[in-house]
Amino acid sequence: MNMQTKNWIDVGSLSDIPRQGARCVKNGEMTIAIFRTADDRLFALEDKCPHKNGPLSQGIVHDGCVTCPLHNWVISLETGAAQGADEGETASFPVKLDGETVLLGL
């Protein structure tokens, strides 16, 4: 299903995103946060914590997770799932690199 509608969209270059940080892509009403880890892996999540919609893009990135700035929920960058005792999930999107170009799959 997804495969059919998927477009890989150029949203910028790798160097636009700080290591252990994130940048946002506005997509109509939705904001998607693109995370870059210390070892240059990329992940994309909707910029909304499953808890109280906190902007995950503003959190601290560590070991494949991000800690939400509002109430410290820890969200997996890969799956969007809340870690530890918390339950909830944020939508995740495919993202890949083509050379230095960041491609977001929508």
């Binding site: 946002c24 210390a38 601290i60 560590h62 509002l70």
Partner: protein, 823 residues
């Protein structure tokens, strides 16, 4: 008949010479059983009874003097004890049963206890009396070392025994270069064998402590103060401090002059009675059964024996027992007990692990354990000591003995199982001689649930504290699920280390980046987490000003974008208004900004400034640009750092004002803004004691009075409410500035991340802080200077920086997609 009545109505007089740990403990035992005595104590030291074993943690900065007091002033009052502090007994008139003090106090006694302790042995080499040569015996010595460490330079510690090495490690942590000189070929040769001594030396050297064994001190060099040490082989080592820790000598002078039987120590029988039946002796000054003691466990046993005999006829007798040795240097684990010299008919079982740097040796004779030396892995120390004490035949488990208790009888390597397997009479707390059974009984009988309770009721883990883990295990076993082991002291799940340890290591090992800290301190996660990274970033910012580059990705969002995130993801913006003073132009600019960027809420804050709430992230830069243009900078309302200095109008307007409180507030805020601190820091200056600026519930406050300025600190008005504590009074604004800069810097250097100033003060002690930031003018000045130096790198307006283009990625989306166009 009349004589008997007389005895019953009149309290007997008990006089004690000395106020160390042994007589303190003796009195505790005595008061538990009888109130027949009226007690008078003469103490040459001007202090109450404190825990000398804990001087090393005081030296290393892990504890303060307040933490190690055993009996506060209140205790003496409660028991009707007269304590003469700083007054030494100079004469005992045995025929009159009286003692005479230096200050001329004469006291009668029915029973006298001599507890004069010991004197440090000072090697009589040339130069031994120069200023800068210290012993390591009491709080004055410890304070002397701390002061010397503040000056920096090299410390030479003469003596590689227990005390010398603790002093060396403490001085190193205090930032000095340290050399240890030891006469023998290996360190601590009386407690360790050569292999363990070698491992210990390697560990100390890896911490940057230079160790020279077989070093014979020829003389101490220097004109007016210590400048160096010359060895017998001609080597000269520069030194600004020399600590002699080569041993102690029982202090027998008073007893000797009184004609009591004295040998190496004051000779007593097994009931602790001296050659005069009205005079007892306890502590390090005693020689009993031909032995003199220096560790606390036997001294406490003497105290108990003496107390029972003072209380009435008793069978109690002092008997020699092996006392295990432990070194109180964080991260250096060693344990030794019993006899480990080579000898006929002795067998050694040795286990080494070079990779882990551990060494275990158990010494057997006739199939019984007679000694053990453990280095690196000391978990089974208590068990070996138990086998030694019980004299159990260990031939059955000989093959697996060295692997420890967990490997016996197929048991699991569960620490609780090991403690469960200990018999009731197994000693848990060596210092206080408390057995497992005693602790279990106290927990059950008295319904104890916390470690603090158990310490209070049994004294277990109340002295050196190394048995705390064991005591907690006993509690866990006794209380089952009702007892929750306190969480590992680690600051988060990524490390087992606490804040104090981490801060010390950052300085001692000169760790200057987050990855360096994580590598050296063996973080369990590759990148840390949202708890530890901001803490480490703060410690590095505070400890290495001008060198460390702030790691933005380890800062909480508010400190990264210099605004406060709100629940809907918008931000609030607070410009600084120094001392709460603003102008029509500033107000106009704020009003214009609010209009221009559609800012929904404008609110006056409790810190006397204006909060603009609901600013969209994209608007932050233009909002700041406009505020900057009107001359305003960031108010840091988001920072773990200086927030506001609240003021009243003082002498400018107020008919009660005594000083220019507004002007002083502005001056303080101009000096302090931009500083990062462990937690937020809010100040106030109030122009008179009516306190309109509410200075007495702030982190730091100044109360102006006619004659000057009262500086107070440690207030809280959040979840917890508490008034401030006075720091001291000064006469001039300059002194206010210096004192507050020093206080802030001391807090910055020793506070734990997110620890507000009142919690910090509770932890390290108000008296101690007063000493550093107020009483000691030298220290005060040097802390204030360090603060001002660090401010050179901190007082840069982060708004202006970002308006100029710094961290631009933070403030705009990476891309804005138009879905229709994409398809």
């Amino acid at each position: 008949m009349t004589a008997e009545l007389h005895i019953e109505t009149r309290k007997q007089k008990l006089v004690i010479v000395g106020n160390g740990m042994a007589p303190g403990r003796m009195l505790e035992h005595l008061f538990e059983t009888t109130d027949q005595y009226e007690v008078t104590i003469f103490n040459a030291e001007p202090r109450v009874n404190y825990d000398r074993i804990m001087l090393s943690p005081v030296l290393s900065g892990e504890k303060s003097y307040a933490d190690i007091i055993i009996h506060g002033e209140g205790w003496y009052e409660e028991h009707g004890v007269t304590l003469h502090q700083g007054d030494k007994i100079t004469e005992i008139r045995r025929h009159e049963r009286k003692v005479v003090s230096e200050k001329g106090v004469v006291a009668e006694y029915d029973n006298l206890v001599i507890a004069t302790g010991s004197n440090p042995f000072i090697i009589p080499v040339p130069g031994h009396d120069l200023p800068g040569v210290l012993a390591y015996r009491d709080l004055d010595d410890t304070d002397g070392m701390i002061k010397a460490a503040e000056e920096g330079g090299r410390a030479v510690v003469i003596g590689g025994g227990l005390l010398g090495l603790e002093a060396a490690a403490g001085l190193k942590l205090r930032g000095m270069e340290v050399t240890v000189l030891h006469l023998m070929p290996t360190l601590m040769e009386r407690q360790l064998d050569t292999a363990a001594g070698y491992l210990l030396q390697k560990e100390l050297e890896s911490r940057g402590i230079e160790v020279r064994c077989e070093a014979n001190t020829k003389q101490i060099l220097g004109k007016d103060k210590v400048e160096g040490v010359e060895l017998a082989d001609g080597t000269v080592i520069d030194a600004s401090l020399v600590v002699m820790a080569v041993g102690i000598r029982p202090n027998v002078q008073l007893a000797q002059e009184a004609g009591l039987e004295v040998n190496r120590g004051i000779v007593t029988d097994a009931t602790m009675k001296t050659s005069d039946p009205h005079i007892y002796s306890v502590g390090e000054c005693v020689e009993v059964g031909g032995m003199v003691y220096g560790l606390v466990a036997p001294l406490y046993r003497m105290a108990k024996v003496a107390a029972t005999h003072l209380a009435g006829a008793s069978e109690a007798a002092f008997a020699h027992a092996e006392t295990p040795t432990k070194l109180k240097v964080t991260g250096c684990d060693l344990y030794s007990v019993g006899d480990f010299a080579e000898g006929e008919g002795r067998e050694d079982i040795v286990l080494r692990d070079a990779q882990r740097g551990t060494y275990k040796r158990v010494i057997l004779k006739d199939n019984k354990v007679i000694g053990a030396v453990l280095y690196g892995d000391v978990a089974d120390g208590a068990w070996y000591n138990q086998l030694l004490t019980s004299g159990e035949d260990v031939s059955e488990m000989r093959e697996t003995l060295i692997f420890g208790q967990a490997y016996q009888g197929g048991g699991q390597a569960d620490p609780l199982a090991a403690v469960a397997a200990l018999p009731d009479d197994a000693e848990i707390c060596g210092c206080n001689g408390i057995s497992k059974g005693t602790i279990v009984q106290a927990i059950k009988d008295k319904g104890l649930t916390s470690l603090a309770d158990v310490r209070a009721h049994t004294k277990a883990s109340n002295s050196c504290g190394t048995c705390t883990g064991l005591v907690e295990s006993v509690m866990g076993l006794t209380l089952g699920d009702a007892f929750k082991l306190p969480e590992a002291e680690g600051i988060c799940g990524c490390t087992t280390h606490g804040h104090g340890f981490i801060r010390r290591m950052i300085k001692a090992k000169e760790l200057k980046s987050i990855p360096a800290v994580m590598q050296e301190l063996e973080w369990a996660t590759p990148e840390g987490c949202a708890k530890c990274r901001p803490a480490l970033n703060y410690y590095l910012v505070a400890d290495w000003p001008g060198e460390y580059v702030d790691d933005q990705q380890s800062r909480f969002i508010n400190e990264r974008v210099h605004a406060n995130i709100q629940k809907d993801g918008t931000y609030s913006v607070v410009p600084r208004m120094f001392g709460g003073i603003t102008t029509p132009d500033e107000l106009r600019a704020i009003a214009d900004v609010a209009d221009k960027y559609d800012i929904p809420t404008v609110k006056v804050t409790g810190g006397q400034r204006i909060d603009l709430l609901g600013v969209k992230k994209e608007d932050l830069i233009p909002v700041w640009a406009d505020l900057n243009d009107a001359g305003m900078v960031s108010g840091a309302a988001y920072a773990k750092g200086l927030r506001t200095v609240k003021t009243c109008v003082g002498t400018d307007w107020c008919r009660f004002g005594t000083q220019d409180s507004t002007g002083l507030g502005i001056k303080l805020e101009k000096a302090l803004w931009g500083a990062w601190s462990p937690a937020k820091l809010k100040l106030a200056v109030t122009g008179c004691p009516r306190n309109c600026a509410e200075a007495t519930c702030k982190d730091i406050g100044v109360i102006c009075v006619d004659s000057g300025y009262e500086i107070v600190y440690g207030g809280a008005a959040g979840l917890h409410i508490q008034g401030t504590t006075p720091l001291g009074k000064v006469a001039s604004e300059d002194e206010v500035m210096e004192t507050i800069c020093a206080l802030t810097q001391y807090y910055r250097e020793t506070g734990f991340y997110l620890e507000r100033i009142y919690k910090w003060a509770n932890r390290i002690g108000y008296d101690h802080i007063k000493e550093v930031a107020y009483d000691d003018l030298e220290a005060r000045k040097s802390y204030a200077e360090r603060f001002r130096y660090s401010q050179k790198f901190a007082q840069i307006d982060p708004w202006a920086e970002r308006v100029a283009g710094a961290e631009a990625h933070e403030f705009s989306p990476m891309a804005t997609l138009n879905l229709e166009a994409a398809e």
